[in-house]
Symmetry: D2
Subunit: 312 residues, 4 copies
């Protein structure tokens, strides 16, 4: 499957585009790729589903805000899309101005309200007089500043936006939480799975059969009994009533591994509904430790034993 | 503790005010109570915390959208507030007009985008020509219509809003999901707990010690091993990095019951952090079934046995 | 495999021979079968292993005394024998005399010490003057009485022994525990497994990897997580030190069922050692209930799902 | 409670007396103690129960043979006895003769059949011509040899027996399994429990409520959920039918520890029947590791939290 046309959650020059560019560079695809900002995550996924694009990049999880419901729900409802990669991007803001603006001239600044919340401490300390003016995205603050389309004298925006719109950076990394990151996924139509690397994640959505505590416990035991760890779990309502959930879960391992294949079959039996959204290399490349009793070799030895036993 | 001054998530005449009025009626408090719409859930809770109000009513969970993160996070961060009751309100929209407007004149309608999403099928079928115009809340659609403050000719709003602003109801219960409900909680400063009724809920927030699958499993086993069921579980990031969660959980039972007291002590030992947010009567009055091995009598008999055994 | 020559734990006319005859009748094998009493259970099993007999009948479990270690250990050590059937025999004693002996003449009685323990209450009440004289087996009490080989005037023995040696029964079912039963297994060399009947048992021996509590728990979870129940569990030392065990376990179900096959593979991975001793019809014919999530159909559907998912 | 009169499983000079003497030495009680060999374990326990003796020493577990059912059942049935100490004794045999007997004269040897089984390899290799003659105990082989009461020319017996009866040791430690040990318990009437030492064991017998696999699992989870490990588990039939068990269990820890107290109360609720047989120092003095979430401090902090929470 050739990957040329990329949809992403727009507008341009946000952290999502930064994630997309990071992905393109990591695969040496930047030269031939075209990129297409979309209005929201469902639209970006629809563009892939309908064949207008080959892949979409959308945020799935933020270390401060939690899961991104729009992405999780859209992936679940579509059901026929596949995650082939993840990209984790640090959420770092810069304070940028039009070239030539002096610090003293910064009497106001623009950003998306989420962005403003993260740079508030910095601005209060360093530019206590600067008035905040909301913009529709952090990138829009930079674009409008460049185009003289707003009243703000500075933008709290991603470095990519400052660079894209020819602004000058006054201060770097001005967010309160230096370790804040957002995780994005690269989504395609179904196709061959990325090969296992030993450092993989598997993403599923599973709906419980009942609202009893034991039901979630039973689901989790499918993983723990095969030594499989989770790196994310998000509850989402099924829409069928209070207390009825489905869970969006990231697991460490690849569906080509025997322990994962058996666990997912166990979930298929126990759950009301199971969506497999992909097995793909984890962005940090951390090799997943495997207990000796759940290696592929251990599963193969058990299968051999069973075969010999059944032969008598 | 006298309950006179009630803060709630405003504006007026939304489903939150409907929940508040329902609560006041159930306690015969409507005559003497004053009600105070607040800008957002944290503000409503702050009003209680600072003593400006005696209680706040805020939405915590919607059967279509899931948990309300702003409420859950605000309750968790405050840590010193207590849920004393829950109210479940059906999410039913009416189509309302100024008295005298004919059906043929409904060329446009106003609502909050969330409201519009839920009445879209009805409007498409019955008023295919009516243009949608967004308003800042479902109640605002009614208010602006009454005040001639908008361009819309009808409002998709709660019955309470239609009534409050003197509108005429054209159609009732026009939402797509007839069973949609929102659950609200009534929150006060800490004080004596509501007495157990046999049909109670307990709300907690617990942060896991690690991001391992076993960690959530261990938490849930504190409940399942004492026969305690959950009616809600929501994951929320701790803000300290991807994959680190705390869970907002509703349990069936009251902290004055021995099995709940022991389970919560177990969570206190196993979890990184535990916030108790209250034990209160469940709105549906459904008596919680208790396994014979986890009744208060069974706990008392075991404690007697231990005492006799230690005496030798 | 033709079954003609049967070894059994001797001597003749004990409950073990009764079990053997019951098995032969149930299979219409009595006409052509030869039966061979052996000195002890290991000898009976050896006769099969070495080809001198086709099958052996040995006691495995008694409702009063518990498991029969000699049988369990011999089956485990052999490792290459297979249980093809079980027979449960009520442990009922009669009081028998030489024809013509009157009740008044019963001044003494013989039995194996185990037998005497079970008829003590009856004898004390009905023959308080009768002195107990030990014999090497309950059947020997009858045989010696018939042959005038002992000093006892009556025998507390199985009905089979009274009949075999031409004695007259004075009183029936004289044991204290009317519901006492012994369970026997019919053992052959490895061969085709008995076909599943829906009412089957599977017998295994599994040695734990460590002496930690969690180790036994992990073993049992292999069964509980697939909805498999146990009907017997016996701990046996491995001989390698205090606290190191292997467990002899009867499970409800057949290895040809998917849930059992998967559970046993799980045990194979988790345990230090696993011996499969057979899947065979249970003597009571009680159909094993299966949870809808662990039927063969449910496993097949999950396997299909996996295959489709891997194809992309 | 003064400990002067000790019953033990006789006869004299067996490993049981060796265990008793080891216990007396460890407590500096040898001078004033009287020791009383009893016919069997139940008799030794009865002597304590009836006040004829202050304590009894009986074997409970052998590393080769497993649990000692007579002891376990007698302790369970009595229900009113208490284990205050354990003693582990190596099972080491010597070959002993009357002084002056030469190796060439050893044409036969006596021992209990269990003893013979353990020295068979040694005797076959070193005295291939020596005929085995059974005796009623390993000590009796020595006593009879000294008294010229048997036909054997040597005894395979405990060193204690050789010494007691003035024999000469020809070869030491002649058993096949050099690591074989037997564990004995010292039992008294109920009284104050031995104080916790940090290296303690607790012995219980618990009968399950049903024969379902989940029932044993539930029992074990009472321990695993509080981080408590087992060092022994033995299944014993309840006598009420095949498949109905009670379990004799040794746990690491003391009932004065909060985690053990809570776990035992949990067992009391979940089990059909619970006998507490004692908390006592383990003979190896190995300090029991405790997870930070189950220390007494952790339990106390949770109890404090609960109290503060209930106060509001």
């Amino acid at each position: 499957m050739s990957l040329n046309r990329f949809a992403y959650l727009g507008p341009e020059a946000t952290f999502t585009e930064a994630a997309l560019l990071s992905f393109l560079d990591s695969r040496n695809l930047r030269a031939e790729a075209t990129t297409h900002p979309m209005r929201n995550a469902p639209s970006a996924l629809d563009a892939v589903l309908e064949g207008d694009c080959d892949a979409a990049v959308v945020p799935i999880e933020n270390s401060l805000e939690g899961g991104v419901p729009a992405t999780i729900d859209a992936l679940t409802e579509n059901g026929r899309l596949q995650i082939i990669a993840e990209v984790v991007v640090p959420v770092r803001f810069v304070l940028a101005v039009k070239p030539g603006t002096t610090r003293e001239e910064i009497s106001s600044f623009g950003s998306h309200p989420h962005g403003e919340a993260q740079v508030r401490a910095f601005m209060n300390e360093n530019f206590p007089e600067a008035v905040y003016l909301p913009t529709s995205s952090t990138a829009a603050a930079a674009r409008d500043l460049a185009n003289d389309a707003g009243d703000h004298m500075a933008a709290a925006c991603p470095a990519l936006a400052a660079q894209r719109y020819g602004l000058e950076i006054v201060a770097e990394d001005i967010g309160d939480r230096k370790d804040a990151v957002t995780r994005f996924v690269v989504v395609t139509r179904p196709g061959p799975l990325p090969a296992p690397t030993g450092a993989d994640k598997t993403t599923i959505v599973a709906a419980l059969r009942s609202d009893r505590a034991g039901s979630l416990l039973e689901l989790l035991e499918q993983f723990s009994s095969r030594g499989i760890n989770m790196s994310r779990i998000e509850s989402r309502p099924t829409g069928d009533g209070l207390g009825l959930y489905q869970f969006s879960i990231d697991l460490l391992g690849h569906i080509h591994e025997a322990r994962m294949a058996e666990a997912l079959q166990g979930v298929h039996r126990a759950a009301l509904k199971l969506h497999f959204l992909g097995s793909y290399p984890s962005s940090d490349g951390a090799v997943v430790p495997i207990d000796p009793t759940t290696t592929d070799e251990s599963f193969a030895a058990a299968a051999d034993w069973l075969e010999r036993t059944l032969e008598g």
